[in-house]
């Protein structure tokens, strides 16, 4: 283990692993530190990802793919269900991963590319000089050591403490944290090729409940609700337990995980002198779906490429790293976050009654004939009372 690296990556999730892999492949010395004793465990994820999105960064491998999806089902507050088959769902079709193996594979690839890796190693403070980040103090099994780096990438996930210690406010607003709980359940009756989403204030206030298949008679059954709606007696776990008792009374829970997903706007600025913030730490989760695996890999990769270029050019201040911030904001991912943020804000204000009307109405259409925009237009024609709400939606999508 060296005392000095070109790049220090904090966090061994998808953002950190891809960042380390990219920088190591570019020939830089890289150290990735992960505070947990094992990469990828416990899992904090429902593990869904689009096929094309995944393939951008890693070759799909059956060792870490739990299920391949053919369709998605949306269930409204009154129980009405709408099915989207693969050919209509487009890029939404994907896989359910096994992230314990997947996350490990990504770190493995980073190590294979030449990065050093330390687990059970926590970054506990930044090393600062003249306002610039120069590495970190690491707590390694009770011992402290300093590691200097030209650039540090904070990929420390939803907690995002490292950036905070560097002076960036990463606090997530209460109403924009999805307070989440999930059971890995087995011995349950499910469609093994379908993801199901349940909406409604009784089921999952300002969030949704999901069933993501994980193979034979097994699924991630989980929920995310707005932090604003959470409190004693009505927490994510309470809602989930109620659902599971009704729907899968004989199912067996073999894993229980909790988590927080930020559905706020991304950080106002994701670089500082010597520092780049990537993945969940930068708050780049898709605010509508809560999906963040792809966004973490995308920003991790971009962060490493920009850092690599900056180091080659000998300047690593905020201005030199700014192309990272600009590039992800104007990328399809950045634009999708912006658009989906507005759609999310619109949807959470819809009453159950209106949501029911929209789903009933959409269900009666032959979805194959419609793009999203023409679908909204058609819905407006059929639901004159909802024109105002739907107009907002149309404007957002169009």
């Amino acid at each position: 283990m060296k005392k000095k690296y070109d790049l220090l990556v904090i966090g061994g999730g998808p953002a950190g692993a891809i960042a380390a892999r990219t920088a190591a492949r570019a020939g830089h010395s890289v150290l990735l530190v992960e505070k947990r004793p094992a990469i990828g465990a416990p899992v904090r994820c429902a593990e869904g990802i689009g096929k094309e999105a995944l393939a951008e960064f890693v070759e799909p491998d059956e060792r870490w793919i739990s299920a391949e999806l053919k369709r998605a089902e949306l269930v409204g507050p009154d129980g009405v269900s709408m099915l989207l088959e693969a050919e209509m769902a487009g890029s939404k079709v994907g896989y359910i991963l096994d992230r314990k193996i997947f996350d490990r594979e990504l770190v493995w690839q980073a190590a294979g590319a030449g990065a050093d890796v330390m687990v059970k190693t926590r970054a506990s403070a930044p090393l600062m000089a003249n306002g610039a980040v120069k590495g970190a103090v690491l707590d390694v099994c009770g011992e402290k050591m300093q590691v200097h780096a030209e650039v540090t990438i904070a990929a420390d996930g939803v907690e995002s403490k490292f950036s905070r210690w560097c002076g960036v406010d990463t606090t997530v607003p209460v109403r924009e944290i999805m307070s989440s709980c999930q059971y890995l359940m087995t011995d349950i009756d499910i469609d093994e090729e379908c993801t199901t989403f349940f909406l409604g204030n009784e089921t999952a206030p300002e969030g949704y409940l999901w069933i993501f298949p994980k193979g034979k008679r097994t699924a991630n059954v989980g929920i995310g609700i707005s932090g604003k709606k959470s409190g004693a007696g009505h927490r994510a776990k309470d809602y989930l337990d109620r659902f599971v008792r009704r729907r899968f009374p004989d199912g067996k829970t073999i894993e229980c995980i909790v988590g927080g997903v930020s559905v706020c706007r991304p950080l106002g600025c994701t670089v500082a002198d010597g520092l780049i913030i990537a993945g969940d730490a930068a708050r780049v989760v898709d605010p509508l779906t809560g999906g963040g695996i792809y966004n973490a890999m995308f920003t991790g990769d971009l962060a490493a490429r920009v850092a690599s270029k900056a180091m080659d050019e000998g300047r690593v201040n905020a201005a030199a790293l700014m192309p990272y911030d600009e590039a992800w904001r104007t990328s399809p991912m950045g634009l999708a976050i912006e658009r989906n943020y507005h759609i999310k804000e619109y949807l959470i204000k819809l009453s159950d009654e209106k949501l029911n009307t929209i789903i009933h109405s959409a269900k009666s259409l032959d979805m194959k004939d419609f793009s999203t925009l023409t679908l909204v237009k058609e819905l407006m024609k059929r639901n004159p009372k909802l024109v105002a709400e739907l107009a907002v939606l149309r404007a957002l999508i169009g």
Partner: protein, 60 residues
Amino acid sequence: MLEIHRDVCGYCGCCVSVCPEGALELIDAYLEVDDQCTCCGICAKVCPVGALEVRDEEKI
């Protein structure tokens, strides 16, 4: 005072992300609170399993 019920906590970091004071930190599976805590109760509200409790102070 913020009480942490470590037997309930699932060490997920949800509370850490919303604390306006940055008073919480997860040290692997061990949640710690420091003296910056103002007992605002935000973390206790959002915890998915109810592992946090503000004692002797009005709850939000």
